[in-house]
């Protein structure tokens, strides 16, 4: 076992903070991991109307957004399931993730696509978040060391689990309405 403390570690409060970013998978890589037997992933962008958003609210799931990025996993012309990508904002972090939904409506797999730790409260600023829009792993923003890990208080994944619950409800609603096949 070897632990080397950084020079600033014991005077941590005085050291300047930096941002931090990791890209784990692209949306395509995550979709292939979730449905390895698929031969195609077809985009099925989903737009919910006001009445459908109200239905979600009535179920106790805040719809939050009318537009959802959905792909259907297909094999030989048949649908195997769906992959939905989304992002959530935590206390200081922006997390994008993908959820694989099986045909029976259950969650098949969840993968984190990227994790961005801000310097502070700029995670709430649209301008900070916008710099990551459309950036896949090839255009990764690299801040700090390549393999750095965050420690500290346990990072909560409440935002992600709430987001997964919302996606399950959105996909179920869209399929009942005939919007997703």
């Amino acid at each position: 076992m070897r632990v080397l403390l950084a020079a600033s570690a014991l005077a941590a409060a005085a050291a300047p903070t930096s941002a931090f970013a990791v890209d784990y998978l692209s949306a395509e890589q995550a979709a292939r991991l979730m449905f390895p037997e698929a031969d195609a992933f077809e985009a099925r962008p989903l737009t919910l109307d006001a009445a459908q958003l109200q239905q979600l609210d009535a179920q106790g799931v805040r719809g939050r957004s009318a537009n959802w990025a959905v792909h259907a996993a297909r094999r030989g012309g048949a649908t195997l399931g769906f992959v939905v990508t989304d992002e959530v904002i935590g206390k200081f972090e922006l997390i994008s993730y993908a959820v694989g939904i099986a045909l029976d409506g259950t969650v098949k797999q969840i993968e984190i696509l990227s994790y961005r730790e801000s310097h502070g409260f700029e995670v709430r600023l649209p301008a900070w978040r916008k710099q990551f829009v459309g950036k896949g792993s090839a255009a990764a923003l690299r801040v700090g060391d390549d393999i750095a890990n965050i420690s500290g208080a346990t990072l909560s994944c409440t935002h992600v689990t709430d987001g997964v619950r919302r996606i399950v409800a959105v996909v179920a609603l869209a399929r009942r309405a005939g919007l997703l096949t």
Partner: protein
């Protein structure tokens, strides 16, 4: 900080598990690493299925349904964690308490037999279970031929092989991260305790929890995770229990 990353490529994946984000990093090999990732994530899910208070069929949920005087046969993972928690409870004179004050002596684990002694007891393995899960995930990676890598369950981190993992500490008050340490071939657990922190800890009336970051390094993550609570409650970075588990502690 020296970095293996300069010359070696690492593959990383992360999933929400154990109430946090769990990241796994492995050295890229010639073969497909996804089987190793899948086995490690499966090992983490297995620990969650045994220990979570929120899973209907976990041993802990089954234990909560017992009446005082009844017992159940725990799965091997549960028994391992409870026996470790029991030995820490005794060695720390009750300070390490997975009942979080509901009934510290209200349970006992003999081998795989988990006995309920008090109807009031509720168990929460949040202070030791993540460390155990990290150890089991590392074991799964090694069994799948991964020679170097790490598993980080939201601050309970273990590195193995020749991976040198820079650890950054999050500023819980203001955001951002600061360099903290480099870890190689061992585990490092950090907890942050204050009134607003997500981490909760219960101590007896005589203990005065600290308001600080506590980090503990140990060869196994189970002990690093659990010993952060002992150090927090005692305020003693030279606590005699640390030496028993080859551990070191820092307040910062």
């Amino acid at each position: 900080m020296s970095l293996v990353a300069d010359t070696t490529r690492w593959q990383r994946r992360a999933q929400p598990l154990l109430g946090t984000l769990v990241e796994i990093g492995v050295r890229s090999g010639s073969g497909d690493r996804q089987a190793a990732f899948d086995a490690a994530f499966a090992a983490l899910r297995e620990v969650q299925a045994c220990l979570s208070r929120f899973e209907a069929n976990s041993d802990i949920t089954r234990f909560h349904a017992l009446r005082a005087g009844e017992c159940l046969t725990a799965r091997p993972i549960t028994a391992q964690v409870l026996v470790a928690a029991q030995s820490l409870r005794e060695a720390s004179h009750g300070a390490f308490d997975i009942s979080l004050g509901t009934a510290p002596g209200g349970w006992r684990c003999n081998g795989d037999q988990l006995l309920k002694l008090d109807d009031m007891v509720l168990l929460d393995l949040g202070g030791i279970g993540k460390g155990c899960a990290v150890d089991r995930a590392v074991k799964a990676l090694i069994e799948h031929g991964v020679d170097a890598g790490w598993v980080n369950a939201g601050g309970d981190l273990r590195a193995f092989g020749d991976a040198e993992v820079p650890v950054q500490l999050r500023d819980e008050a203001r955001g951002g991260v600061r360099p903290f340490a480099t870890l190689r071939d061992g585990a490092l657990a950090t907890s942050h305790f204050d009134r607003l922190s997500r981490s909760r800890i219960a101590g007896g009336a005589s203990t005065k929890p600290l308001l600080a970051h506590v980090s503990v390094a140990a060869p196994l993550c189970l002990w690093a995770d659990a010993l952060t609570k002992v150090v927090t409650l005692s305020g003693d970075t030279s606590h005699p229990l640390l030496a028993r588990f080859e551990a070191r502690a820092w307040l910062h």
